[in-house]
Amino acid sequence: MLSFVIQKLASTVIVAILVITFLSLLVHFVPGDPATIILGPRATPELVARVTTAMDLDKSPAMQTLSFFGRLLRGDLGTDVFTNRPIATIVGQVLPHTVILALASLLLAALVGIPLGVLSAVRPGSWADRILSLVSVTMVTIPPYVSGLLLLMLFSGTLRWLPTFGLGNPGNPLDYLQHMLLPTIALALTWIGYLARLVRGNLLEVLSQDHIRAARAQGVSQRTLLYKYALRNALVPTVAILGVALGGLMAGAVFVEIIFSRPGLGTLITESIQGRNYPVVRAATLAAALLFVIANFLADIANAALDPRIQLGRKGAA
């Protein structure tokens, strides 16, 4: 297990390095002079030069990359040219809100999606299965920004049961939850549908395997078969997909955060792109990418713990 973890960790670090290198060069792929665009026509050449230096734009791409790595190792992401605040602080303030939203959505997706998948798989072809299939496929096809707007218009606009925007008061758990409910549902819907389809398919596949049929022939009850033997095996690919799901949820959070005016990485990245604030775009994207990489790493480890064949790299041969 240890060598597997080290191997996965090494590949995670390599991916992280590639991401950081790409992000450090990001500004060179974007047309226009960022300093001029940020400051507008009334900026003096001295001010443009000052912002250019502050954003490292006066250095060569190679030097920018090296400088970026060097500062990153010291935990320094630079200083925001607009607010003069450390960029690490800016990202650090919004990051927890996005992580909480993504994790809550993931939890909701798992809590609702997996039971729906099991319910479908228990009686394949039944009316319940057909209705659940229709519902779950519909959920998969609705992007979070559409479901977010619909939920917002219904529950906040028409019924006025829930607040329309913001984060609420983090010091007041009930208020915070009120503000988080609709964004969480909007973000989770796609993955509820997807997990329901995935669990249903996996479970049906496992239930048709020889060892399950043998156990059934030996008189093991359907309930024990389902929950003790089949579900565990069926959930292995589901756990693997949760890492990817977290990445997908982080991406979806961009839209949901904007629609619900929720502070987070999504709103930060969007605002920074609009303001051509590349150092903040770079730092926020880096945080999102690292979260994605770490989530995948943890999913790999969890997957290997559930299925020892993965550690031995023999899954394909098994």
């Binding site: 226009g32 002079d33 607040p163």
Partner: protein
């Protein structure tokens, strides 16, 4: 076991009920909190270093200037200054401050040396301000007493009284506070003498200003102003309808629905900015003035207004907006005349002309250019629309590359002084922001005179003549001066500049 299940159900139901019942939608009836929607977060509230219109809106209630605009007019009144006298040649402005004006947060009494510090810092090369042009002719501020001083200029400077002193560049900061807090931290820890004090800022969430109990002037109506960040337009509309915000900048497309809501009042303000279709007079295809005149006669601006603004924006006919010195009431109305346009194209020998229009990728400008494309096709001119990323777009007119620009769509923001409109079309701006690459010595000379002319009537004549020059050479097709809708709950009485910019310190309740 069953009891436990039932208990769990009760707890779950109670939790869900609590979750959906009574979200924080508290609304104050007079006094209390004014909740305002901001489309983006604030970034810098320092009068010398602010970035966006929203920075300005939030910062203005924190500071006082020597003078300020009276809401709803372009007239000014004294604030910090008890007296203000301008010398005959306009280069010396003597002021006397009110005594006993206190800086926020216990930074002591405001004196003439604070005024000196506030204005001269714009010219500090160590901390270059983007708004240095507001104080370009400033020589110094002489402090002649604890409350007395003189602003000394190299030459008379008319925008001083219209766009410098009454607005952000004239806001007086407390020297001790800036030095104590540090110029960088001051950006988000501002200290002034205004009717509101800075409360707190939750980045990407909200900014709160609280009433200054020691304010020397009339106390504002609201105890505090809470600016909440709502980027999405539809969310902002819903928040206004739900009463979660009291005042919001909206989008034009929202008005039809909101006007039917008895709980909301709406207003559309025309703005000061100028938006136009420009023509590069140096480009071989557009060098002949008859071709430019033909294009001007072919493009149907009222159609653009219907397509892009649902007919809610007013057409502009010249550079300077109504209400400012130099507003040209008799500017040419170039109604669409396709026959005349075709004749001009024929006279110029430009049959089969193919042109390109460069636009930044916004729905508004796509609508403009699509209408123009249809109109020009009717006179035999093929127009290709080149939609560009904003970053790329802002580069195309600069330097010698700008010679390749043909037609373009552009919008410039404005301060309430005509000089901020004309300054971009002088000869030295060719290769900079003068993308029409139009150069007129008379225009340049008038621009310089306009800056130094204090007499309003004389000044108005100067700017009207400058617009005549632009019109004669058919360098631009003016479209609008902006159209910004605002909505408010009925218990709020908003206060605005004539061009719409809200003045939150003057908001009242009913």
């Amino acid at each position: 076991m069953k009891k436990i299940r039932n208990f769990t159900r009760i707890i779950t139901a109670a939790f869900l009920l609590a979750l959906i019942a009574g979200p924080a939608m508290a609304q104050d009836d007079g006094g209390g909190t004014l909740t305002v929607r901001l489309p983006t977060d604030v970034r810098n509230l320092d009068p010398a270093h602010w970035f966006s219109e929203y920075d300005k809106q939030v910062a203005l209630p924190l500071y006082d200037g020597l003078i300020r605009y009276i809401p709803g007019t372009y007239d000014t009144e004294l604030v910090l200054a008890r007296t203000l006298e301008v010398s005959d040649d306009g280069t010396r402005i003597d002021f006397t401050l009110h005594e006993g004006v206190q800086c926020h947060d216990g930074y002591g009494e405001l004196t003439a040396s604070d005024v000196k510090y506030s204005f001269e810092r714009f010219l500090d090369p160590a901390n270059p301000s983007p708004y240095v042009d507001d104080w370009r002719p400033l020589q110094s501020v002489e402090v002649t007493g604890r409350y007395e001083g003189t602003i000394v200029l190299e030459n008379a400077f008319a925008p001083l009284f219209s766009s410098t002193l009454p607005l952000m560049s004239g806001a007086v900061v407390c020297e001790e506070a800036v030095e104590d807090i540090g110029i960088e931290a001051f950006a988000m820890n501002p200290v002034g003498t205004g009717p509101y004090m800075f409360g707190n800022w939750n980045p990407n969430r909200d900014v709160t200003l609280v009433r200054n109990p020691d304010y020397f002037g009339e106390q504002p109506y609201f105890d505090e102003i809470r600016f909440v960040i709502i980027a999405d337009e539809q969310s902002a509309e819903l928040a206004l309808r739900a009463g979660e915000v009291d005042f919001a900048q909206l989008q034009l497309s929202a008005l039809a629905l909101l006007e039917r809501d008895p709980g909301i009042e709406t207003n559309v303000y025309p703005g000061l900015s100028y938006r136009w279709i420009g023509m590069n007079v140096e480009h071989p295809k557009l060098q002949d003035v008859r071709v430019r005149e033909a294009i001007r006669l072919a493009i149907d601006v009222p159609s653009i207004l219907i397509v892009a603004y649902e007919g809610l924006a007013e057409q502009s006919f010249a550079l300077i907006a109504e209400g400012l010195p130099g507003y040209w009431e008799d500017a040419g109305r170039f109604d669409q005349d396709l026959d005349a346009a075709r004749s001009l194209i024929e006279e110029a020998g430009a049959d089969g002309l193919q042109l390109r229009i460069d636009i930044a990728d916004t729905p508004e400008y796509r609508a403009w250019s699509q209408v123009a494309q249809q109109n020009l096709r009717q006179i035999g001119v093929e127009l290709t629309i080149n939609t560009m990323d904003t970053g790329s777009f802002w580069e195309i007119g600069s330097g010698s590359e700008g010679k390749n620009v043909e037609l373009f769509v552009m919008s410039f923001a404005m301060e309430p002084d005509p000089a901020w409109a004309t300054m971009w079309f002088t000869c030295d701006q060719v290769g900079g922001w003068n993308w029409m690459r139009w150069c007129s010595e008379e225009f340049d000379e008038l621009h310089t005179r306009g800056l130094e002319t204090v007499d309003e009537d004389e000044r108005a004549e100067i700017y009207i003549r400058m617009q005549e020059l632009m019109e004669e050479d058919a360098v631009a097709i003016w479209i609008i001066h902006g159209a910004t809708p605002y909505g408010n709950r009925p218990h709020i009485v908003p206060a605005h500049m004539p061009h719409g910019s809200p003045l939150f310190a003057h908001f009242e309740g009913r």
